[in-house]
Subunit: 197 residues, 2 copies
């Protein structure tokens, strides 16, 4: 398809598609003639993912790193989650992992790489909440962690098992784009239990 | 305390504190002399909350609405969650609530106001995920919802029961600031189950 059709089917303006091409977020099309290029369904899928990441607040530079990870899919299913997560932006990367977070993982029996970016993000997020007057006790944190185990099981059950490249696409997109789904559900559940509790 | 101490204890620069005062995010201090004002612990708590909201990506205009809600605390515990949620920024406010989302709530047995902002946010978030190649089946959505019930129970258990004004502060801050805690825990749980699954 031409760039105009790519734009129409993705809902992304032609100028923005060209910007993503220049920024390396989208691979170049196949040249047909001096000034025209031809794109296919893989471009469309990639473009929709870039758009969704950017709309979810991921910067263009971060999205480029994610796309680079997608371009070198892992060789085993075991690497899949690691590859996806380490490519995704993780807030508070400069915060040192707290002893509390390390011992929480031991308590939970979770086996996680000692340099997982989410360990820094978790430490920073807990500190930020406490600094703003939300105490988040160790017991509360543990209860939250147990609740997220069920979410992670659902996440993993929906990853395709056939093709590692499409599984990676799914994990990356699902990790970022399901967070707002969960945040909305949490608010609705709060309202429900608040009324009936 | 003086503005310099307020700045020091909150870690927010004096110029930023002044900006928040001008924007109405922080109530004025008690005037002592022509050019000086005195602040107290309530200013400090409010300033830390504003800072945390802004760092979590809430705009200054949205934060002002949250602060206005905090200035008129609800008269009953029942109103508390509603008041907090309706003041907080909710993405996709202009997206019409889908029949799928309405029937999900019926299935779940959740009793929620028909104009809850999170209904729009949920519809928009599910659409955005699907558009980017994350299918989110109705069954998956229902499983996520069940997992968030446990999170909401933990949320509600940690709201103070004595004082409605501080309970509102806690709910507002907790709603926004616990989302990143849960997102980090979800990534760690994914990594754990991915390795052992």
């Amino acid at each position: 398809m031409r760039i105009s059709e790519l734009s129409e089917r993705s809902g992304v303006a032609v100028a923005t598609v060209k910007y993503y091409l220049r920024e390396g977020l989208l691979p170049a099309g196949r040249s047909v003639g001096a000034t025209r290029a031809e794109y296919d369904e893989t471009h469309l899928a990639r473009l929709r993912l870039v758009r969704a990441l950017v709309e979810a607040g991921v910067s263009v530079a971060q999205a480029r790193r994610v796309m680079e990870a997608l371009d070198s899919p892992p060789t085993s299913r075991h690497d899949l989650l690691g590859k996806a997560q380490y490519a995704l932006p993780a807030p508070h990367a400069d915060v040192e992992v707290s002893p509390e977070v390390r011992s929480l993982l031991v308590d939970l029996g979770w086996s996680v790489s000692p340099d997982a970016p989410a360990l820094h993000s978790l430490t920073g997020a807990v500190e930020a909440a406490r600094a703003a007057g939300v105490p988040v006790s160790p017991t509360t944190l543990r209860s939250y962690a147990r609740a997220t185990e069920e979410i992670a099981r659902v996440d993993l059950a929906s990853v395709p098992t056939d093709d590692l490249a499409s599984a990676l696409h799914r994990v990356v997109a699902g990790t970022v784009l399901v967070d707002p789904v969960l945040a909305s559900l949490r608010r609705l559940a709060q309202e429900h239990f608040s009324g009936t509790g």
